[in-house]
């Protein structure tokens, strides 16, 4: 009975969805509004006026920078939500304002499943190369696919892999307690910082100077943004992982 009801409900909702989607402009047709309206200008002028060879980066950081600032805030919100729900009462001395998940867990000496020496060796061997690749993806997002979000994800994954192999006592030195919240908020902090610099240069928040003499400044602003996004993303991954492991 319940299954029949669910099936009927699915069919009833699917029909209008299909009718609507079928009438959408065909995929890949160069004459559809998706290609002829604003995207056309992005593709034609984007390289010059947005200042990035990779048009996607130009749209993300320049034309629609506000959206990206919002997106990094969504990621930060997810972190805050995770911490607000995950931190529990366990063995925290009353009134200790400087609680640190890593320290508390280190005292607790968690029992870890042993990691195969082969895996451990390979991860440690590859770590510097993975880190280098992450930096490459972040810096080169300007020209080729990639950028802060992707590079940050690689860095975060590296941190998690290292924590599993080496134990959190070793990797927590990468995220000192006092620097932690700065790293977690790095993405939005750089966005606001760069946005204000851009505002001072162009009169518009999140603006980039377009004059040829200031092209270097524009490149630099974008690079700083990518680095901030990367660092912030990696820190969010790492913190959530540490917190979940501690619980």
């Amino acid at each position: 009975m319940k299954k029949a009801f669910v099936a009927a409900l699915l069919i009833v909702t699917a029909i209008p969805l299909l009718i609507g989607v079928v009438a959408l402009p065909p995929h890949g047709d160069p004459d559809t509004p998706v290609h002829t309206h604003i995207s056309a200008r992005y593709l034609e002028e984007g390289r010059e006026e947005a200042g990035a060879d990779n048009i996607v980066t130009g749209v993300l950081l320049n034309y629609r920078g506000l959206d990206t600032a919002g997106e990094v805030t969504v990621i930060f919100t997810a972190l805050m939500a995770g911490l607000a729900v995950l931190i529990s009462h366990k063995k925290q001395p009353e009134g200790d304002a400087t609680y640190d998940a890593a320290e508390a867990a280190a005292e607790d000496a968690p029992v870890r499943a042993p990691v195969s020496p082969v895996v451990s060796f390979v991860v440690r061997l590859l770590a510097p190369f993975i880190a280098l690749f992450a930096v490459y993806v972040i810096v080169n997002g300007h020209v080729t696919p990639g950028g802060g979000f992707q590079g940050g994800a690689i860095l975060g994954a590296l941190f998690i892999a290292l924590t599993i192999v080496l134990g959190r006592e070793r990797t927590r030195t990468l995220m000192p307690r006092l620097a932690q919240p700065w790293m977690q908020g790095a993405a939005l902090l750089t966005f606001v910082g760069v946005g204000i610099v851009g505002g001072a240069l162009t009169g518009h928040f999140l603006g980039y100077p377009a004059q040829a003499s200031l092209h270097l400044a524009r490149e630099l602003m974008m690079l700083v943004l990518e680095a901030g996004i990367g660092l912030g993303g990696a820190a969010v991954f790492a913190t959530l992982f540490l917190q979940m492991e501690a619980e």
Binding site: H37, D67, T77, L188
Partner: protein
């Protein structure tokens, strides 16, 4: 000062940046967090004040981040509906002040969580402000996500099992509605190639088939209805709003559900202007759902003994009023509905903060347990009574004029039945608030110790009383917001030829 152009990005980014900085300033001591949040909200409120003054003097205006002309860049657009940020800032500020003592008192909450509470509250307020001032569809979605995510976490914040369940239910419903909104934004981009609301409005009618536009409209309407908790997609609301910490209940019930309404208004702006579809059917559906919400919300509220659960159900019926006002789409009803967005926020925040004060002092939350409290906490109970008569809509309080206007709209639209539904709903609401007042003042206490308690501390009492007095002031000066919102309502309805 009001002419300084950068107030608009400032009002959005001040709370968001403030949220990111909250864990940093709380590194040394978590007691800094509430004061920091209060300072951030003060700055935001100043910016909001200038923006509202500016829109009152010169009408809607835009800000172009990055300097790109719309539709190529994102446009922040401030119109009379965006003036709801004034209430967001006010209630946000008061909720932070109120939380100062209230959150410390929650025994289930590990103290280390507290800075994250303030960060989430600031994110939530910043997300709402961004949502109501943006003129871009995708940007709207981004801010919707910020405010939704933070709202789920705030509901779960108290750490009780039931709170986590309520938050999870809210998360499921909310995620579905966000998906619907995102999918619709995708469809609209697919058929217009644009995301700027004003640009979309001129281009959406140029397609051969209206089916995708209609699908997007339907999904946007359903998505925002879930956020606004309209019947029958209200099921997440009662638990979530009742179980959240009281200052959060005030923010959720007073403000966050209104985001759905503002979203609906933005969608209407696009579709009315484009004229691509006849919205008569949708309007009729909204009016009916609004009427059912009014009656059902009020009906369920009567049977609640838990004071916060009762207030939560009352939110459903008030959202019903607003949506009915929009659906009737006459000048009177739209003005009444939009002003009720402001007034209901004030009223419901008063009630939730006052209820929180009662719970804080006594530890009880049902009407039976709270009998006789009017003798020991007279000021709080006066605030509740003012809130109660406002929400029923008795003149000269804030609730009266809006409901009067919506009823006038129903008669103007030749649908007097809905005018009667509205009055009928008000009667129901009257019954359950009479029950509450009766319990507080006239019934013998079940727990004798309730007569011994004192008023809540000043940081909780002052916001409550201030909001209660605003309920009265907004009633007496009720013509000012009505006149303020009138041009926006006229602009919304202008394409209808009314």
């Amino acid at each position: 000062m009001a002419a300084w152009p950068h107030w608009l990005p400032l009002v959005v980014f001040a709370p968001l940046l403030g949220a990111v900085l909250t864990p940093i300033v709380s590194l040394r001591s978590r007691h800094v967090a509430p004061w920091w949040a209060l300072a951030v909200m003060s700055v935001t409120s100043v910016a909001a004040l200038f923006l509202v003054l500016r829109v009152a003097s010169e009408g809607p205006f835009s800000y172009l981040p990055g300097g790109w002309q719309p539709p190529y860049g994102i446009e922040l657009r401030f119109d009379e509906f965006s003036a709801v940020i004034s209430v967001i800032c006010l209630i946000g500020w008061l909720a932070v002040l109120y939380s100062l003592r209230y959150i410390e008192w929650l025994r289930e909450v590990p103290k280390e969580r507290i800075p994250y509470y303030y960060a989430l509250l600031l994110l939530n307020l910043g997300g709402m402000i961004g949502f109501v001032v943006t003129g871009d569809l995708f940007n709207l979605f981004v801010f919707l996500e910020i405010l939704s995510l933070s709202a789920y976490a705030l509901v779960a914040f108290s750490g009780e099992h039931i709170a986590e369940m309520a938050a999870f239910k809210y998360l499921l419903m909310g995620a579905i509605s966000s998906l619907l909104v995102l999918f619709s934004v995708g469809i609209i981009f697919g058929i217009t190639g644009s995301l700027n609301m004003a640009d979309v409005a001129t281009r959406i009618g140029q397609l051969d088939s209206a089916a995708p536009a209609a699908l997007a409209l339907a999904m946007l309407a359903i998505g925002f209805m879930v956020k606004a908790a309209l019947f029958p997609v209200h099921i997440w609301l009662p638990d979530a709003h009742a179980i959240a910490p009281s200052p959060i209940s005030a923010v959720l019930s007073g403000l966050v559900v209104k985001v759905g309404i503002i979203g609906l208004i933005r969608v209407y702006q696009i579709y009315y202007t484009s004229g691509v579809l006849d919205l008569h059917t949708l309007n009729q559906v909204l009016v009916w759902l609004g009427a059912i919400s009014i009656v059902m919300g009020a009906f369920f509220a009567i049977f609640q003994d838990d004071i916060k659960l009762m207030l939560a159900y009352s939110t459903i019926s008030n959202v019903g009023y607003i949506v009915m006002g929009l659906g009737l789409s006459t000048n009177f009803s739209v003005i009444g509905g939009s002003v009720h967005v402001f007034n209901h926020a004030l009223i419901k925040a008063t009630l939730f903060l006052a209820a929180g004060a009662l719970i804080y002092r006594t530890g009880y939350r049902t009407l039976t347990d709270l009998r006789g409290i009017g003798r020991s906490m007279p000021l709080t109970c006066i605030a509740i009574s003012i809130g109660a008569i406002s929400i029923v809509g008795i003149p000269p309080t804030a609730g009266f004029l809006c409901k009067w206007y919506i009823a006038l709209g129903a008669f103007e639209a030749d649908q007097p039945f809905f005018g009667f539904a509205l009055i009928f709903g008000a009667l129901f609401i009257f019954i359950y608030y009479i029950r509450m007042v009766n319990a507080f003042y006239f019934q013998a206490p079940v727990h004798p110790e309730i007569l011994e308690v004192t008023e809540a501390p000043l940081s909780m009492l002052a916001p409550t009383l201030f909001l209660a007095s605003l309920c009265l002031i907004m009633g007496i000066l009720g013509r000012i917001p009505l006149a303020f919102i009138e041009p926006a309502a006229a602009r919304l309805l202008a394409p209808l030829g009314g």
